[in-house]
């Protein structure tokens, strides 16, 4: 089966063959013989040429975070045809704006801007309280506040649109 792994530093086609814990993976032109065991949910034991690795794989919004040894990698894995369909579609919406979405569930404790406000990069837009910490969210660019979709005191879910900026 063919996959495409997307990392911060590149895109790798990967082919997997095998079953029952023994696999042959082809990464680019390298071939890896892997003896893999799922030892607990998300905790993999990989024996590769006698070297023992334990990898933790945590799903994080469609990508996976892999902790192995002292390294942490964020990797999106897609079945190859799905990757092709996705990347052939249009690029990111290019209206020159920034949509701030809630990265985690929480409660809005303070909204510092209103529609029409001019903001500079780094200005505080709002404050979300989650897990007893107040987290300030700042503008990633200079622009004008087009929309404010939340108010102080409101509970929000991860992914909710909070503020829309326009250049």
């Amino acid at each position: 089966m063919r996959f495409v792994a997307t990392l911060e530093d590149g895109v790798e086609p990967v082919e997997v063959r095998g079953e029952g814990g023994r696999y042959r993976l082809t990464l680019g032109d390298e071939v890896w013989e892997v003896d893999a065991r799922l030892t607990a949910q998300g905790i993999y034991s990989l024996l590769i040429g006698g070297v023992s690795h334990v990898a933790e794989v945590t799903d994080d919004g469609g990508a996976c975070v892999v902790d192995v040894g002292d390294e942490t990698w964020v990797i999106r894995v897609e079945e190859a045809t799905r990757h092709i369909i996705r990347t052939r579609g249009g690029g990111p919406a290019g209206h020159g704006g920034q949509t701030l979405t809630a990265p985690l569930p929480g409660r809005i404790t303070h909204v510092a801007v209103k529609p029409g406000d001019r903001v500079e990069k780094g200005d505080t837009l709002l404050v979300i309280e989650a897990m007893k910490m107040e987290n300030e969210f700042r503008a990633g660019m200079a622009g004008t506040v087009a929309e404010v979709r939340v108010g102080a005191g409101q509970a929000v879910n991860a992914g909710d649109v909070l503020v829309v900026l326009e250049t």
Binding site: V14, L38, G69, A130
Partner: protein, 501 residues
């Protein structure tokens, strides 16, 4: 009197810690839980557990009326408040006393004297304990704060009068930032401690945060158990603590310990408490505040002194004398604690609530895991992010550092992001290894810290691809043995387990 049944008015790892001490003393532990915590570890481990309200702490763990009523209904004779929540709330201690319950902590008067940070500063001034300049009283208004700030000078610190653990604390660099910082500090203080009062203090550059553990019984005996170095902090939240401090020699330890005991005595303090000091680069120390409770980082003191602080709290609450003097307290070796928080250290340190799908804690020689979670449990967004405290002991600091690096490598958590990768980088850092610490250590090194990436790239890709292969229905990996995931359940409550969700 003998304590027979203790209600623990807390949750998470500290509730588990107190339950363990109770069990070892033959005391029946009683847990309380919010609606979000029905399946929390402390509920599973206690002999009895009672609901106290909805998930927000203000409607459950901060509800004095419900906690006291629950303790009475359960037939408890004492209440242990843990840390945070109501641990330093004199009204709670008084409500317990009024209901005939022993409050396991200082008497209400000492709580008012020491727990209220401004009152503690007045006491320190009276006793001639050195102090950083600042307001002795909480500031009543923004105008009062502006006036006081102009006198103290910038940069300065805002601190919650009833605070601790970094909540309600803000560094203000310039006058223009004061109003925003006041609002944030008051709101955080109100949410965390039920009181929004804050005070101002001058900011000392490159300080170390070093605190002294004291134990006082109800018969006037006070001893100190040496110091903890807690300089490794981020946004005033400690991340790594150790005992002894690499910068404290026996002479300085004796002076700081003497000052700490003097303050505890003068405040009529009883139980375990901590006097926090700032130590400047010239090794002058300044009283910062007293934490009238058990500290999160108490285990490092336990590891070097061999004294179980929660056991001592229970004994002292029962009216027993300490039974030992200062000369009997001997520290040996070095201990380090790392806080494993559900935060994404490479993603702006955002909290990472979720379900812990996979968990394997570090074990082995001289490793202690004070945890409040188990595999399959949910990390709620309602409470703080501390999952577990990993503590090690070594014959000396170098051995303890090597052991901590080893233990962090063994600790596996899947399902939520944790501070483990950044903790591993901290203990490997040359400044940490050399003991060159200040409270700015983390701020200084964090911008340069990224997820380590190098030779294991291909291995990481293999793991990610196999996980996706598995997820797509190719169940070719041998599944985990069911016994492994249920081991925790059998470990402490044989026969008590229900079905897994």
């Amino acid at each position: 009197m003998k304590l027979a049944k203790v209600l623990i008015a807390n949750r998470g790892e500290i509730a588990v810690r107190v339950i363990r001490a109770c069990r070892e003393q033959g005391i029946t532990p009683v847990a309380v839980f919010s609606e979000a915590d029905r399946e929390a570890l402390h509920v599973l481990m206690a002999d009895e557990a009672y609901p106290i309200g909805p998930a927000p702490a203000t409607e459950s763990y901060l509800r004095i009326d419900r906690l006291v009523a629950t303790a009475k209904a359960a037939g408890a004779d004492a209440v242990h408040p843990g840390y945070g929540f109501l641990a330093e709330n004199a009204a709670f201690a008084e409500a317990c006393a009024a209901a005939g319950l022993v409050f396991i902590g200082p008497p209400p008067a000492a709580l008012r004297a020491m727990g209220d940070k401004t009152a503690a500063r007045r006491l320190a001034r009276t006793l001639g304990v050195p102090m950083v300049p600042g307001t002795l009283e909480p500031v009543a208004s923004d105008d009062a704060a502006r006036a006081a700030a102009a006198e103290i000078g910038y940069p300065l610190m805002l601190k919650a009068a009833l605070g601790g653990g970094g909540k309600g604390m803000r560094l203000v660099r310039a006058a223009g930032d004061l109003a925003g910082a006041l609002r944030a500090a008051r709101s955080e203080a109100a949410g965390a401690f039920g009181d929004s009062a804050v005070y101002l203090e001058r900011y000392v550059s490159e300080p170390r945060h070093i605190e002294v553990q004291v134990l006082a019984d109800a018969h006037g005996h006070v001893v100190h158990l040496g110091e903890r170095e807690c300089s490794i902090q981020r946004r005033h939240q400690k991340l790594v603590e150790e005992s002894p401090s690499p910068c404290v020699d026996p002479a300085l330890r004796a002076r700081m310990g003497e000052a700490a005991c003097r303050m505890a005595k003068a405040a009529g303090y009883v139980s375990a408490g901590t006097i926090e000091f700032l130590v400047d680069p010239d090794r002058n120390f300044y009283f910062l505040e007293m934490n009238a409770r058990l500290q999160v980082e108490h285990p490092v003191t336990e590891m070097v002194t061999g004294i179980d602080l929660v056991r001592e709290q229970l004994r002292i609450a029962a009216g027993e004398p300490l039974g030992y003097a200062q000369a009997d307290v001997v520290a040996r070796g070095a201990a380090i604690e790392c806080r494993i928080n559900a935060e994404d250290p490479f993603g702006g340190w955002l909290p990472s609530p979720g379900t812990i799908t996979g968990l394997r804690a570090a074990t082995g020689p001289w490793v202690r895991d004070d945890s409040g979670v188990y595999e399959g449990c949910t990390v709620s967004r309602f409470y703080d992010t501390l999952l577990a405290k990993l503590v090690v002991w070594g014959a000396d600091r170098e051995a303890a550092i090597a052991r901590m690096a080893r233990a962090l490598g063994e600790y596996k958590v899947v399902g939520v992001r944790t501070t483990i990768p950044v903790l591993a980088q901290i203990v490997a850092h040359e400044d940490f290894r050399a003991g060159r610490l200040s409270t700015h250590f983390l701020d200084r090194i964090l911008p340069g810290l990224t997820a380590a990436r190098g030779r294991l790239r291909s291995v990481a890709i293999i793991a990610a691809v196999l996980a996706e292969y598995e997820r797509l229905g190719h169940h070719t990996l041998p599944p985990p043995a069911p016994a492994a995931t249920d081991a925790w359940r059998m470990a402490f409550r044989p026969g008590a387990g229900g079905g897994r969700r």
